[in-house]
């Protein structure tokens, strides 16, 4: 059997640690980290000084602030992710084989350190170097070393500083840990509390077979875990594939062709690299550094992940044509977001249908042309707000479309955006309005038709509509829909009646 040796690094209160790592000014202050949306925020992580003030996770911002002298920080996923990368970078100096075993509020990783004695000396020395190196980079961690993966992990979670578990003494080393160190359900935890089983040592002392008779096969795993003999298949962490190409031009480039020439090559490389990992490209971010020191950013997001180089190029060409840089380009970076390739099982006897992706491509092209949120099916909202609708992606439900017989209606031609007009009021009715350079006298006005709503939110509206028959100086008459925004007291020409 191949000898194993693991070192587990555990950083408790990681949201707080990640934020405080770079805020040396706050290290000697009580700090809490809040999560949740205002006005509902609760403490999710805190440092030791805050704990000493009696604070715990779960209290509200108000309670935390009332304690006095507490620094309150907001949880940041970006900062935590970046701190995790740094931590991983540090630990990876000690072993290339690392398994990450983090939870929401702490960060843990287990290093496979078997055979590293020649490089770093005995495991104690390695653990000390690891600990001090992480401490230098601002992380307060606990480290446990054991030939058993789970023993190292549980010990590091439950203890402080460095703990070395000699081979064969795992059960003893774990005996004092609480049973909550195991990943137990609420029900099982409650049963153990009722049984008076508080530690792994007490659990290990129970007869295994009888435990299995009471809890099933899970009990065997708990028993092995509590004795430090549970096995584990190590799943080393691999660094994420980063698809990015950068090119710095010798001279600033103004010509689109030159830009596309380089861009073509970069996209080829990126799609080739993605294909090597059995991946497609789900989006491309194009970052251009410009001569005037500003930056120009574009994003291409095909409807489906693809490695179709020509298609991506076409999209790039369209995007650049639609949004050209305002100055010569000094450097070009293209990064790609990998996505899974589209797979489709064709039936042997099913008739060949047009490639479904062609619709997606067309939509993608349209989206590239007019914008993400402006392509799809218009769907009316369940709201009294006039002209309220949203766009949904096209979908085909396969049902035949039934044409309903409708009586002839007057067509309403909406003007988007509505045109601001100046209205003359006479006797509480609109008498005339002026639009751009033209003036209209109102011959007939019907209304007001009133709608209002959403008084509880910022999208509140209160509108008054008038159907008017208006005539300009040249005798041209129009049936229009005028709208007064009562909240802002503004008039708009909303539509014409055909």
């Amino acid at each position: 059997m191949i000898p194993t040796l693991y070192a587990c690094v555990h950083a408790a209160e990681f949201p707080a640690q990640a934020l405080l790592r770079l805020r040396t000014d706050l290290r000697l202050q009580p700090v809490v980290v809040l999560e949740g949306k205002p006005p509902q925020e609760i403490v999710c992580s805190l440092n030791r000084l805050a704990k000493r003030r009696g604070l715990v996770c779960g209290v509200t911002r108000h309670d935390a602030e009332e304690t006095g002298g507490i620094h309150v920080l907001a949880r940041s996923a970006e900062v935590e992710s970046s701190a995790a990368s740094v931590l991983l970078e540090y630990v990876s100096r000690f072993s290339p084989r690392i398994e990450v075993a983090s939870s929401n509020l702490s960060y843990s990783c287990v290093l496979d350190i078997a055979g590293t004695e020649r490089l770093f000396g005995p495991s104690k020395e390695l653990a000390e170097r690891l600990h001090s190196s992480l401490a230098d980079s601002g992380f307060r961690t606990s480290i446990a070393v054991s030939q058993n993966y789970h023993a190292a992990l549980m010990k590091a979670h439950a203890s402080r500083g460095i703990n070395l578990i000699p081979t064969g003494e795992e059960a003893g080393a774990l005996a004092d840990l609480p049973v909550s160190a195991l990943d137990l359900s609420e029900d099982h935890l409650e049963t153990f509390v009722l049984w008076g089983i508080a530690t792994l040592g007490e659990l290990a002392a129970l007869p295994e077979v009888e435990l299995v008779m009471r809890f099933g096969s899970d009990a065997r795993i708990w028993h092995e875990l509590s004795r430090g003999i549970a096995t584990h298949v190590f799943r080393p962490f691999e660094t994420a594939l980063r698809l990015e190409e950068t090119y710095e031009f010798e001279d600033p480039v103004e010509q689109m062709d030159s830009l596309l020439f380089i861009g073509t090559r970069m996209i080829e490389c990126l799609s080739h690299r993605a294909a090597n990992h059995m991946l497609s490209i789900s989006s491309l971010s194009i970052h251009m550094r410009l001569e005037d020191r500003s930056a120009h950013q574009l994003t291409i997001r095909p409807a489906l992940p693809t490695t179709d180089r020509k298609f991506l190029l076409k999209l790039l060409q369209l995007e650049l044509a639609a949004h050209p840089p305002q100055s010569a380009v000094v450097a070009l970076t293209i990064s790609a977001e990998p996505g899974m390739s589209r797979k489709m099982q064709l039936g042997l006897f099913a008739p060949q249908t047009p490639e479904p992706s062609r619709l997606d491509v067309t939509i993608a092209r349209l989206k590239a042309l007019v914008g993400e949120d402006r392509v799809g099916s218009a769907v009316l909202d369940d709201s009294h707000r006039p002209d309220s609708f949203h766009i949904e992606s096209f979908s085909i439900d396969g049902k035949p479309f039934a044409l309903q017989a409708t009586s002839p209606h007057i067509a309403l031609r909406r003007i988007r955006p509505a045109m601001p007009v100046r209205v003359v009021i006479h006797g509480s009715k609109p008498a005339a309005f002026r639009m751009e350079e033209s003036s209209f006298q109102i011959k007939e006005a019907y209304g007001p038709w009133r709608t209002s709503g959403c008084w509880w939110s910022t999208s509140q509206w209160d509108a008054e509509e008038w159907d008017v028959l208006a005539m300009n100086a040249s005798g041209e008459s129009r049936a229009c829909l005028l709208l007064r925004d009562c909240l802002r007291n503004e008039w708009r020409l909303e539509a014409y009646y055909d």
Partner: protein, 1045 residues
């Protein structure tokens, strides 16, 4: 109504949906304000199909429902028809539901009703949308054929909506074609434009959705407000007839609720008898029974004279039937062995006493009949009957239904309004707050009776971490405040039964209650009183059930029988009361009662009557308590406002306490008649009319002058009467309650086991939790045995110990998580086949026991008497396996295990046992949690509750205990009172408002407290005035406290 008055509208009609829910209040406020109230309802008619909804291509969530017509009551016949119509379709439903009428029913009950065709929710709008003009024409023709041509009006509404106006034009054409008049209405849903937000919130609540998702369910604009006549005329200037017809319709409506046609039922009497003569005979029988004994012989003549006076008035007012009907209910209870006792002012009546409606002797106690009934009152007498809560009360209610028919009697309703917590939850839901936020908010809305300056909604929100500047939160806060006291739903009154001669459903609609077998009218008790409907209150009183159960237990276990009607005046009982040893006793167990009863030092029944009456917000706020107590203790001289008043006030040491005394004062000093005196009490007490009060005061002063009372004494008397009229308590009611209080004290003192058993079996009731009741009983020497599957029944029971003493066995109803059916199956199996030999035997013989129930029983030690189980964890170890099928591989081990030594788990420690007891039963029969720590507590200088009596006034002391009650009474100006329990008794703590603010979290959340403060010993009433309060970490047991009284 107030808005209608502001707008100078001469009349206004109310049309609730499928009911007359609001008309009573509408009528009374209309009369008060001076706006003519017209009565009507919107009636759903299922035969018209579904109401108009947006077209199918327009997304909406409006559920299909029948269209609704507006029916207005033109005459009393019309009103009776409307009530019957609503009752008909409401009672057709199996449960409480909206329901809908059919066209045939409309036809049957159409007389006397004016029909308006409704707005967008009406049948014409639906027919127009569905079938165009032809459909609308057919519908209109159908309506005119039902109600008659002159009684149908085509309703026009203008809410500035295109589709509505289009419909109006079509309807105007149709009306003119068919010669049917049009009428302008506004489909009003709220008083002012701003109230549309409340309507939207109510709509969201009704449809169980949020405002964001409600879409077209919400109001399209805010035009359904109450418009002035001028505004309506301007809106309908092109249809002047529509406005003119509103006046015509209003003038046609002659009916008001003053003319309800309600009559109380007649009692069936034998031939040759009138109700009066029949009542007289029954009363005479009663007088002989009540006063025939030698002990009461001296009162007989006086009683005869009094009943004669009362019967004459009853006959004059025509109330004999009412008394006979209540007597009939009493007879039913007596026949079935139910305890029953009248409470309230009925106890002033010798007739009620003779009929055994009440148990207090008004002659012996010199109570004043006029407080109960007087000629000038113009009101029906009010008799409330207390019955044991539970099944027996339900049986009596069903008896009344049976006797007067399902349409002759019904429960009165109870309008449930939005309060802080319910408003906070439901507005929050409508605004889209998630469950966690809602729970936090709702839990923060305090239920403390006294509200300090910081107890505003805004401060609650701030505490919960909500930013009140946030627009959604600001709206939330505003809506919560505006929702306060608005109606939420109609519940069922706890016991008010309305009875009617003939058909009650012609007086008020009746509908199904949520509770099976119950029907409920659409008005609440105040509305009934305002409109002269008579109800008999059949109230459930937990203590009546306790008394009943106690007197049933006593003969079985003590070999004696107890008659509650003839309990002796027992000095041991008074001694116990004087010591404030009153946990569990009716009315005198609260913290405030305990603090005052030693000062009052009751020695006879009347002292208890005073005691029951004096610890009330009224007498406390009216500053009557302290003067009385000082005089009682001889610390203050007994004086009277005038020597003439000495006989009236002598019993209460010159301090007027009872409403009856006010009446007697007026009768004595100003020669008022009983009726006039009662009128004075009501005028001063209710403060209804300043003019009326002035008139009465003038008459009072005149009378006093005639009797030679000087001006200064007159001022004193008038001042005394007006200051105490608001706060006085009815002596008769106090006497009725004092009887029950004395009975409970008597039973507790002499039959502790039976009384405690009955108390535990009738929870929840009273001031203390079962855990406190048990500890108190144990301190008084009762042995309390824990739940045991080999002995316990579902309810608590009494057992005879080998030494002949009686002990109490806790019932399985206290085992949390155990179903009643399972516990009863267990007990039945035990009776059938004997004790359980093992856990497996138990699970085999009682297969309905599930794993959770087994664990619950094992955890609380209920299986410890089963063979092979040495302690609770043995049982816990075994129940995890019991009932689990195992494969053949493990069977052998299982068999071996069953015969082998006990399980591998260690015994529970004391702390673990206590925690398990409280978690599993909410109580412990073992030592009090504090007892385990006494030595350590003593070494820290912490005293026990019984130590305090040995310390001096103003000495600094430190106490600790489990918080069993927290109170912040409305009358205590922000002071908080805590009761701390330890193994020796209960100690009382006073917390000043500033200390409460400082340690609010500790005081409200900690289960055990360590308190240091100055001891206050006022004539044996001991308090500790807290200076420092810290939580005490004694046990993690979940002990419960009774808070917020």
């Amino acid at each position: 109504m107030e808005r209608a008055k502001e707008l100078e509208l001469p009349a206004i009609a109310l049309a609730d949906r499928n009911g007359l829910y609001g008309v009573a209040r509408f009528h009374t406020s209309g009369q008060r304000i001076g706006v003519k109230p017209h009565i009507g309802a919107e009636i759903a008619v299922s035969d018209f199909g579904n109401r108009r909804t947006p077209p199918s291509w327009l997304p909406h969530q409006i559920p299909p429902e029948p269209p609704r017509l507006v029916l207005l009551c033109a005459s009393q016949v019309g009103y009776q028809n409307l009530c019957q119509l609503i009752t008909r379709f409401k009672m057709r439903e199996a449960t409480k539901a909206e329901g809908a009428a059919t066209l045939d029913e409309l036809e049957e009950f159409s007389q006397g009703l004016i029909c308006l065709t409704g707005g967008e929710e009406g049948p014409l709008a639906a027919a127009l949308a569905q079938d165009g003009l032809a459909g609308a024409r057919a519908t209109l023709n159908r309506l005119t054929s039902i109600f008659g041509r002159g009684n149908v009006y085509v309703e026009l509404q203008r809410h500035q909506l295109r589709e509505e106006e289009c419909r109006n034009q079509a309807l105007m054409g149709l009306a003119s074609e068919l010669g049917i008049p049009v009428i302008a209405t506004n489909g009003v849903c709220y008083a002012t434009k701003e109230d549309v937000s409340l309507l939207d919130v109510f709509t969201s609540i009704r449809h169980h959705t949020t405002l964001d998702k409600a879409g077209r369910l919400l109001a399209m604009n805010s035009a359904r407000y109450l418009r002035s006549a001028r505004e309506m005329i301007s809106l309908f200037r092109d249809v002047p007839d529509a406005i003119a017809n509103t006046r015509i319709v209003s003038e046609r409506i002659a009916f008001t609720l003053d003319n309800l046609g309600y009559e109380f039922p007649h009692y069936p009497v034998p031939e040759g008898e009138t109700m009066d003569s029949f009542l007289e005979k029954r009363v005479e029988e009663g007088v002989r029974k009540r006063y025939g004994s030698a002990a009461k012989q001296h009162l007989l003549n006086k009683a005869r004279a009094q009943v004669k006076h009362e019967l004459a008035l009853i006959a004059k007012l025509g109330f004999a039937g009412y008394f006979l009907i209540v007597w009939d209910i009493i007879r039913y209870c007596q026949k079935n062995g139910f305890l029953v006792q009248g409470r309230g002012s009925a106890a002033n009546s010798a007739v009620c006493y003779a009929l055994e409606i009440t148990a207090v002797d008004p002659i012996g106690l010199e109570l004043l009949f006029e407080r109960f009934l007087s000629e000038s009152r113009g009101e029906w007498p009010d008799i409330d009957l207390d019955l044991p809560s539970g099944d027996q009360r339900e049986q009596v209610i069903q008896y009344v239904y049976e006797r007067y028919g399902s349409l002759g009697a019904a429960m009165s309703a109870n309008v449930i309004t939005y309060r802080g917590r319910s408003a906070a939850r439901e507005v929050g839901k409508a605004l889209g707050f998630d469950e966690e936020q809602l729970t936090r908010l709702a839990s923060l809305v305090g239920h403390w009776e006294w509200r300090g300056p910081n107890d505003t909604m805004a401060s609650h929100f701030d505490h919960a971490g909500f930013d009140i500047r946030h627009p959604r939160i600001a709206n939330y806060l505003d809506l919560c405040l505006r929702m306060q006291d608005l109606p939420r739903h109609l519940g069922q009154h706890s016991g008010g039964l309305v009875i009617c001669a003939g058909l009650l459903n012609r007086v008020v609609p009746i509908e199904r209650a949520s509770m099976p077998g119950r029907t409920v009218i659409q008005w609440d008790k105040e509305d009934c009183a305002d409109l002269g409907l008579i109800k008999v209150d059949l109230l459930g009183l937990g203590m009546m059930a306790v008394l009943k159960e106690s007197i049933e237990l006593i003969p079985h276990h003590y070999g004696q029988s107890v008659d509650l009607a003839t309990l002796p005046e027992d000095q041991v009982v008074y001694e116990t009361l004087r010591k404030a040893d009153t946990v569990g006793m009716f009315q005198v167990e609260s913290r405030a009662q305990m603090a005052s009863i030693p000062h009052n030092a009751p020695e006879r029944f009347y002292d208890l009557v005073v005691q029951v009456a004096i610890i009330r917000p009224g007498p406390i706020v009216g500053k009557m308590m302290n003067p009385y107590m000082r005089r009682r203790q001889g610390k203050e001289e007994v004086t009277y406002p005038h020597p003439l008043l000495e006989p009236v006030l002598k019993r209460t040491l010159g301090v007027p306490l009872f409403q009856e005394q006010l009446l007697r004062m007026a009768m004595t000093v100003a020669s008022f008649s009983g009726a006039e005196a009662e009128e004075l009490r009501r005028a001063v007490g209710m403060r209804r009319s300043m003019q009326r009060m002035k008139d009465l005061e003038g008459r009072l002063r005149e009378g006093m002058s005639r009797n030679g009372i000087g001006a200064e004494a007159q001022d004193n008397i008038v001042q005394g009467i007006s200051s105490f009229a608001m706060y006085g308590f009815p002596e008769s009611h106090a006497a009725s309650f004092a009887l029950i209080a004395y009975a409970s004290a008597y039973l507790k003192v002499h039959y502790l086991a039976a009384f405690t058993c009955a108390m535990l079996n009738n929870q929840p009731m009273g001031f203390y939790t079962p855990a406190v009741l048990i500890k108190d009983a144990q301190r008084h020497g009762l042995r309390v045995r824990p739940i045991d599957v080999q002995k316990s029944e579902w309810l608590c029971t009494l057992e005879t110990e080998p030494d002949g003493s009686i002990s109490l066995r806790i019932g399985m109803n206290y085992a949390k998580g155990l179903r009643k059916s399972t516990a009863e199956a267990l007990a039945a199996e035990r009776v059938r086949s004997g004790h359980f030999s093992s856990v497996d035997d138990l699970t085999f013989r009682v297969p309905s026991l599930n794993r959770k129930e087994l664990v619950s029983l094992a955890r609380i030690g209920a299986m410890n008497a089963i063979g092979g189980i040495e302690h609770r964890r043995d049982a816990l170890w075994q129940v995890e396996q019991a009932g689990r099928p195992v494969g053949p591989l493990l069977n052998e081990i299982r068999d071996r295990d069953a015969n082998s030594s006990p399980g591998p788990l260690r015994r529970m420690t004391n702390e673990e046992r206590i925690t398990a007891d409280y978690a599993g039963t909410g109580l412990t029969t073992g030592p009090h949690p504090m007892a385990y720590h006494r030595a350590a507590l003593r070494s820290e200088g912490i005293l026990s509750a019984d130590d305090l009596a040995t310390y001096r006034h103003n000495q600094l002391v430190r106490i600790a205990g489990c918080v069993i009650a927290r109170q912040r009474p409305g009358t205590a100006k922000g002071f908080v009172f805590l009761s701390l329990e330890d193994e020796t008794g209960i100690s009382n703590v006073i917390i000043t408002p500033d200390i409460f603010e400082r340690d609010r979290t500790t005081i409200t959340r900690s289960r055990f407290l360590d308190i240091q403060g100055l001891l206050q010993n006022n004539d044996g009433v001991i308090h500790v005035k807290a200076q420092t309060i810290v939580p005490l970490d004694i046990t993690s047991a979940e002990v419960r406290s009774h808070d917020f009284h």
